[in-house]
Amino acid sequence: MSKHHISTTINGEPVEFLCDTAQTLLDVLRDELGLTGSKEGCGSGDCGACSVLVEGRLVCACLVLAAEVDRCAVETIEGVAQGNALHPLQQVFLNEAALQCGICTPGIIVAAKALLEKNPDPDEEEIRFWLAGNLCRCTGYDKIVRAVQQAALVMRSA
């Protein structure tokens, strides 16, 4: 059975790959394209550690078939920083100890970035419900929510 030939853009760069039907976007990102920033915590869409954007929409890469992203724009954690310049979310997360083990951090930063692009000044409740799909077991979420609010402030005043 021949593989699917997919041409897509990932973090703004054109990328082509071959994949089987059963391979998810997460499998291809990690195993074929070496983009291991998206993490597999559950493989069933329940933890959010594999959050990416497909056509600007925040989704779990483990619940998207790689074949579905043909001619779609994909954005992953690897595309959040611009070269060496960290995104305000990344810098504030580091400064405010908003991560510990960090396995959930890529998914949370991709999700939070999507939120701030939709609403530049979200309140605590909106942040918490937006991030409810991103499980974190280390922090208890407090510093993550505060970091998103602080990054939003930085971005609004930038």
Binding site: D20, A22, T24, S44, G45, C62, L63, L65, E68
Partner: protein
Amino acid sequence: MLTYNKPTTVDEAVILLQQPQHAARALAGGTDLLVELRSGRLAAQGIVDLKRIPELRALRAEQDGFRIGAAVSGAELGEHATLKAMWPGVVEAANLIGSTQIQGRASLGGNLCNASPAADSVPALIAAGARCTVAGPGGRREVPVESIVTGPGKTSLVSGEFVVDFVLPAQAARGGDAYLRFIPRTEMDIAVVGVAVNLTLDAAGVCTTARVAVGAVAPTARLVDAAGAALVGTTVDETALNALMAAVRAACAPINDKRGTIEFRTHVAGVLAGRAAKIALDRARSRA
């Protein structure tokens, strides 16, 4: 090897889904189908991705109501102001399906055809009197939403058939709908109990029509006629609400499972029915 096709017309999809030799499954958002695939429980040999068919992606007003493509995502519904204004209950039910990430993909078509007794959007669609267009080898037919699911994981669709879109009627001038569900956490859980209420008032504030549907308390979502009847002719006061709650509890036939007990589901179904009725009542009054 598993095949993958992405037809761009309904007819193409019907042909692909109808081929007997490879049990083909329709893919819209995939948030249920892919979980089945990854856990090795998917028996299909082929996947037919419906998202490239314009009709299934369309969301437009029609004859004062709405026509919603089966592959439109919950997130898109949540961002449609006029739909939300007319049918807040239906939209909040769709938006309760999973996390933001799931909302980016989950569709009304998938939620209905996955045929889970606890599907969040189905009770609200039933209460709203929604119908859906089914395409298949025999052509197209429009049927009430409640006729699709026949049991856990089972639908009335035959090989080659799939849901194209949903038709939401116009909400009455003094109409209001609401959906509530019970989950142990505040997000991410499958509904332990789900209740939808859709009612209309006359000028004097008396309830003239009422549809009450429940989820996760029976093999399929159910329209509870007795519950609707308990509200009609009343001002939806305490007595009517108590009758509504009793009727809903009487209609429950839940099971004990990892999410809830029979006693819990039955009791809470009544509680949520009362609360959802009050919200629907407020919405109906505010629309008057």
